[in-house]
């Protein structure tokens, strides 16, 4: 899907652009009307930040240069919100739509597949950005956490993260057999990786968990989103190494998605 987003842009005709706008409108409507998705994504990330800020947020972390925990939580939950929207919610959405025949039906309508995929991607990006803005506002005005120092680095990480985690969401949706298992499977993968990546409790740099998590994109995404906030002295806002690993996961997922994506329900 990430590839669809970049390669089709060149070929987009005015009619395609109008169709993308039309479809994004209804993708957004569907997301906000289907309250379960909206609650799991947007409300959860905001609620987690508010609750953690109110409880553990004021204690200081020696491992991170004695900063307050809330300063670590704001970028952490920005990462959480994006991953939740792009990976978990997108994957569940695609499985449900595939298994109920909605994708097949859209495939048989005159809406071109590229328009549908771009519209789903744009809609996912909108949900992600709404969360980013909400979380930054809560951090800034609720807990006096400063905003990113380098907005350029922050924007790049958001872009790479949204594209790559969306690709991972599409890729995982292709291996989930039915809508009943979509929620549990994606949530277990997501929360285990979040835990191992130290979202709730920062990891020691050389701990075994950190070494294990190094192979997965979640830890790198949290670090890459942290960097532009530059709360650690001597850390560059441009976390190139982490961004590269996220992008590699994204590229691999695009390959899986292109090979495995199915329009029709698995059972038939």
């Amino acid at each position: 899907m990430a590839e669809a987003a970049t390669t089709t842009r060149r070929h987009l005709l005015p009619r395609d652009v109008r169709l993308v706008v039309h479809q994004v409108r209804y993708e957004q409507l569907a997301f906000w009307l289907n309250r379960v998705g909206a609650i799991f994504t947007v409300v959860f990330s905001v609620l987690f930040l508010v609750m953690l800020g109110a409880s553990a947020g004021q204690s200081r972390v020696p491992a991170l240069g004695n900063i307050k925990l809330i300063v670590y939580y704001v970028p952490g939950f920005v990462a959480y919100g994006i991953m939740s929207a792009c990976f978990t919610t997108l994957a569940i959405n695609l499985v449900v739509r595939r298994e109920t025949g909605q994708l097949k039906r859209l495939r048989l309508s005159p809406l071109p597949a590229r328009v549908l995929l771009v519209a789903i991607f744009v809609s996912t990006a909108i949900v992600s950005l709404v969360q980013v803005v909400l979380l930054l506002i809560i951090g800034r005005f609720g807990y006096s956490v400063h905003l990113p120092v380098s907005w350029a680095a922050f924007a790049l990480v958001l872009l790479v993260g949204i594209v790559s985690f969306s690709a991972m969401g599409v890729a995982i949706s292709t291996v989930i057999p039915n809508q009943e298992t979509a929620g549990p499977v994606t949530s277990i993968i997501f929360f285990v990786l979040l835990f191992l990546a130290g979202l709730w409790f920062p990891l020691g740099k050389h701990s075994g968990l950190a070494k294990f998590s190094n192979y997965f994109p979640v830890l790198h995404f949290i670090k890459a989103i942290d960097a532009p906030f530059k709360f650690q002295p001597g850390v560059s806002p441009w976390a190139w190494h982490d961004i590269l690993i996220i992008a590699l996961w994204g590229a691999g997922s695009v390959l899986v998605a292109l090979r495995k994506f199915k329009w029709s329900p698995r059972r038939s």
């Binding site: 569907a30 009307l33 005159p110």
Partner: protein, 317 residues
Amino acid sequence: MTRNEGLKLSTISVSNLRKTYKNVDAVDDVSFEVERGEVFALLGPNGAGKTTCIEILEGFLHRDGGDVQVLGVDPGQRGQQQWLRTRIGVVLQELAVESFFTVRQVLERNAGFYPAPRPIDEVIALVGLAEKADAKVKKLSGGQQRRLDIGLGIIGRPELLFLDEPTTGLDPGARRTTWELIRTLSGEGTTVLLSSHYMDEVEALAKRVAVLRRGQVVATGPPASLGGRDRGEVAIRFILPAGIAASDLPVTPTSVDASVVEINTNDEVVVLNEITNWALQRKVTLTGLDVTRKTLEDVYLALTHEEFDDAKGAANG
């Protein structure tokens, strides 16, 4: 691109169509023609190949052999699919509509895909959902959801509408209203390709039918003529009058079961004449006299009986 519109009267032309899944012929040498404006039915049990045929015609599945023309183009050619999809309407077996949208929202969404859609209110009125226009899809009854589904199928003013088992799972009342809707659409000139495993549905709606069994066409023609039904065997039954032996009858019965006499014949006028004349002369009453032509169901079961037996143990396909 050559689209021989107007040159041919057939909206759909299928010859020697073949599709294989894992070495099994899902569709095996199927041929049929659907004329412009007619309602044509594919009749057969689950797994007979109806949906596979329809999906090939829609351009959703690739075929392994044979020739297919839909509205003058080959649906298997990717370059033709976009053109084709603005001119066909598709209603799938399952209701594939987002349940949290309202009726109006989902129709407006799909209307945006077509160059010249029907007005939303016209579609809502046509499918009889005027009172439910602002209700959420999940609040609709099964029959109402099916009518909305058909509404989505016709919002783009299709020349050809595919209906894959449109009344499976509906209660009798909802089936009737769905049939009425299909008749209305057909009356407007829309060509309809219908699949069904209900004999009564095909008899009520279709002008012509192809019966499929294990991927092969085992019969084609108007429903009334299927399996020689219009000229085939008639069963004459009555209760053997008291004091009369079966051997006393002027015609040799096919069977006598618990004193019910059954005579199967292709020449019912002559046989009835002989029996009634005999009864009048002998002054006996033929209690329960009954003349029945084979039902479409009898013909259908006879045509597809192997599949029917297999299907009892097999899962839905």
